[in-house]
Symmetry: D2
Subunit: 351 residues, 4 copies
């Protein structure tokens, strides 16, 4: 099989760099194009990144000599992964879809559009059905698929098996999010040394609304949102990678702690699909009294698993627990890649 | 007026040091005794603290030459402030009370005893009535008064005006607590650099139970606990001073944001009492979108005020907000001092 | 006496904010003008700083309603303190000097000009003599006086008494500098959490060259640089305020540890001048085995004193020690203010 | 070939844990014994470490069921790796050596003994010759080999090729050391958040004396120390893993930057020996302007390589550079393992 050609839009940011790293030696995909803003275009990726590459010791060999292009159709690839900033992502992604490209986007712009799938492959692969509607209504040859906000992804993964087994009514979550979530340069050191920032722009709204779509059901060609209530408080803390979330939930049916842990540990929805980037265990339940912790658990299953721990009764809702996910891997770069893999497995690309 | 003689039990720890600092030049009190473990006893405070004083540039002049004594009755003072570790506090405080001393304790041991007042002067000064019962039932010449856990104090101060005006039914709180709350050496750097610890021993239980007593009402000589539900998730973050708390509340009556802020800002219960350490404003409400923050707000009113911000509706309960308090000052040393001042103002000491 | 009118150029940055804070209630000066970039001009300081003020809980009352102006002559003041970025400082400061203003600059642009004084009042007040030459050669009605780089200032203060008493031949210094030295947003959190940055642009060159001018002597109207060698290695560490410097020195004459400490502690060059912002002790020598430390010592004498400790023999040069100074106060805002005070005391302004 | 049986003394500390991790699947060695203090003895390693394992997500499978023994001869192994605290290491190691065991120690106690090799395999494998003398003079059936202090190791590795090619006369070094160097719990968070500690007990002395022995030459059965001068200033900074060192050196011969970098990059002394844990490149020279950094470079070659960068002329000595090494791997656990591998390769064990 020839590998599918991939372009990376916004290849110079932290999410873009992480995509570049994760796609080295990918069994299905090959990065043929890296694109960024106009001022980077024309030089090699290596030249552009000389003072900007900062997520690993060095740029993967394969990407060094790629010529950086502008973010506009004309790229030699079948699918683009978009790690663009939301200030520009909307229009650019539309241009690519119109021009016939598949777009797997990490940007927020189209997530809540009613004809755009907002996908976590372990949860709602069937929402890809929206693509047909999208292409038709917009008259596009290509299409856009999105992945959720980083905090939303790990939350939804932890919730999905509970929703399936016990029904989900209320979810309260307080996050303690890593600085890499804000990109680079992102959060100033002055705000993080000996400090907590109790505010992240737009974040609470995303965490309160995206899950309803993700955990919703396809019905007559549309996503019918989950009938549940989410409330979020989002904070930034002095951690590089890994968003911690303290979650309280109200379920529809009674469930014992044992049953809930069994649901977490029995959650293997992609075992048949064999997507290369999918973790064997999307949820790793930790029995230690003080876990998960970013320093120990953020890289579980290459950063693609969510670590859950400290399940215990809640005096107000039913249960509380803590969930941790790698915001750049599971929450962004890996999410866009996994969606691309799903598109391939389902025959939307690579035919 | 002669100043009232005070002894500090556990004077070498971080809370003890903070008490020593706060009592320099106190208008009502004079520290005449510093007491600590057997191995420190016999040397001057300055000698004992040479390699241990670590909360300010230097030991206050007045305390340097005080001889460190063992923590046993016989001290030349009328009241002792106990900053003892809970592993030893219980018995020692009882000995002092039995021997006729007033004890203002920061330790958890006696907080929930039905005949021991658990006091925040702005909230439940009337609970001092328990002292009479305590002395009688225990046959003590002295008595014990306690202050709450550090996280509990700032939470209750923020809640009290809401309870008074609108009734309080449910409180969910997720804390992000400073390392000084664990004393010194306390939390290892290995656990705090680039990390969050989602567990603090005993803390959630304290935050869930102590408020019910503090916010309860005196009834026939006993404290009738508040009929409300508290649920807490407690985390340790890389901050030196200041516990941040993300709170969601359900009230009995409808209240607008404006009314709630007015309640916060109108909360001045001690204005008549004129306790020297009491903050003018126990609650400082901040209108900035990203406040409170430890780096900016922890020292509000000398560390004795709680800073509240980000009031907004909650999708599940009624409202959410963030509260910050200085755990060592408002949450420990200052709490024990303020209780001692209340005891003086109410005539329990210094007659 | 009427207060002297001061304008602050670059009033919105961290150094500018610190100047605004330090000049509240100044006995000699009154801030009448705040100036910044074109896009800030026209609004009140309060409006401009709503989301940018971040060095203290709130903007001093006096500055809130000041109208922000552009950085161009025409301001109603006698002297301007320049906290401008070096990318624009050079030309703007010249315009002000030409237009008759006294300029006390914190920018690097003119520091090494042969006719511009580079002043630390405790060290080389006599270098103000260059002003005459400067005005003459440039045909300006006003003039520019500069203060040194933040790391340079504390180093030179520690060295001056040793130079005076024992002669100074070689100075090796390795710095561990606070992030506030890079302004705001400045150093990204991604670079400081669990990390050290072994590079600060231009810094080593400044530390190696500026001291030679500062510690030089006036000779026939020019500064004759000190004949000594400086070598610097500069690092950024996860500290908010306070540059730490590990220094090794070679002296011309033999000196005992006792004599050196006596030199540090006997250094009171400004006692006659009574400049309001001058610290009583420019150098605080600490005898503790593990000091100075930023957390304990950065605010010595309101941040205007340098803390020195750990004097011990060096196997290669003569002695080693550690020095700490508050980079924003002693190293920038306070330096510009102190120079302005010196100008007043010496009759250059406020006549 | 049967694997050589290894015991780990002090298996519960951070260095011990790192040894346990690094020896999983070792081609030559098998851990048959884990030993620790009396109070741990008798339980399985898993039980003992339940709340103490903290350097990786989980204990390697192979070690879980090992029974923890006391640190006394009688263990079923040929060699012991000692990660004991220096307060007890001295005597225990002697007992093992006397009883016929080979001891590869990470403790400081015997490092400077004239008959004990202080070994970095890349540098002074020939010093193993001291073993014969040691066994004879002490009448032991076994023997002790030591590895140096963590800061010393990376410094000496960086210096060795320069010594070989150009001669080494003076070395000044200022360190910024990671907290893991102090073990666990080790450095309190209160001392590291927003702070630098300019003191590490005993460290400067170790860095000033150990290199002279390591870089010395065997002469008539004794180590003749290097005739050079070292001066060190040691600091603790808020980094988990990786000691940074700013080094200035004076060489005997003139050398260009190019020649020095060539010396760094051409340093492959163990290529013939093929020790399993030896890095291919003991020194990785980085050409980036801002490297090495702990966050990017600490794990070079599995943590066994030292990263060097920023070579530039020094105004006082000849050159300056920065070196970074993983203190727990290259500087402790890996050092003891590499020495054990050298003992095997040279026929001292595993005959």
């Amino acid at each position: 099989m020839d590998k599918i050609k991939i372009g990376v839009l916004g290849a110079t940011g932290m999410v873009g760099q992480t995509i570049i790293n994760m796609l080295a030696n990918h069994p299905w995909f090959i990065v043929t194009e890296v694109a960024a803003s106009e001022r980077s275009a024309g030089r090699t990726y290596e030249e552009v990144m000389e003072r900007r590459w900062n997520i690993s010791p060095q740029i993967p060999e394969y990407a060094r000599k790629l010529k950086v292009k502008e973010c506009a159709p004309g790229l030699d690839c079948e699918i683009v992964l978009s790690a663009l900033d939301s200030s520009v992502a909307g229009g650019i992604e539309e241009q690519f879809a119109q021009a016939g490209y598949a777009v797997s986007s990490n940007a927020k712009n189209h997530r809540m559009d009613s004809d755009v799938p907002l996908i976590i492959p372990e949860i709602n692969a069937d929402h890809l059905e929206l693509i047909k509607k999208q292409k038709k209504s917009r008259g596009w040859k290509g299409f856009i698929v999105t992945d959720p906000n980083c905090s939303t992804i790990e939350l939804c993964i932890a919730l999905k098996p509970l929703q399936d087994k016990f029904g989900l009514e209320k979810v309260m979550v307080t996050t303690m999010q890593a600085v890499s979530g804000a990109g680079y340069p992102g959060v100033p050191s002055m705000d993080m040394i000996d400090n907590v920032m109790p505010y992240i722009g737009d974040e609470e709204e995303k965490v309160q609304t995206e899950p309803l779509k993700i955990l919703g059901t396809m019905s007559a060609g549309d996503v019918k949102p989950l009938n549940a209530k989410f409330s979020a408080q989002c904070n930034r803390v002095a951690v590089r990678y890994g968003h911690m979330e303290c979650v309280s939930i109200k379920l529809s049916k009674k469930a014992s702690e044992k049953e809930i842990i069994a649901a977490f540990e029995g959650f293997h929805p992609l075992n048949d699909t064999r997507l290369p980037t999918a973790p064997k265990r999307p949820i790793v339940y930790l029995r230690n009294y003080d876990r998960p912790q970013p320093k120990l658990d953020v890289n579980a299953e290459g950063g693609m698993a969510c670590s859950v721990g400290r399940l215990r009764p809640c005096n107000i809702l039913d249960y509380k627990f803590v969930v941790l996910g790698h915001n750049l891997v599971r929450g962004a770069a890996g999410a866009a890649i996994l969606n691309a893999e799903l598109l391939k497995a389902k025959g939307y690309i690579g035919k």
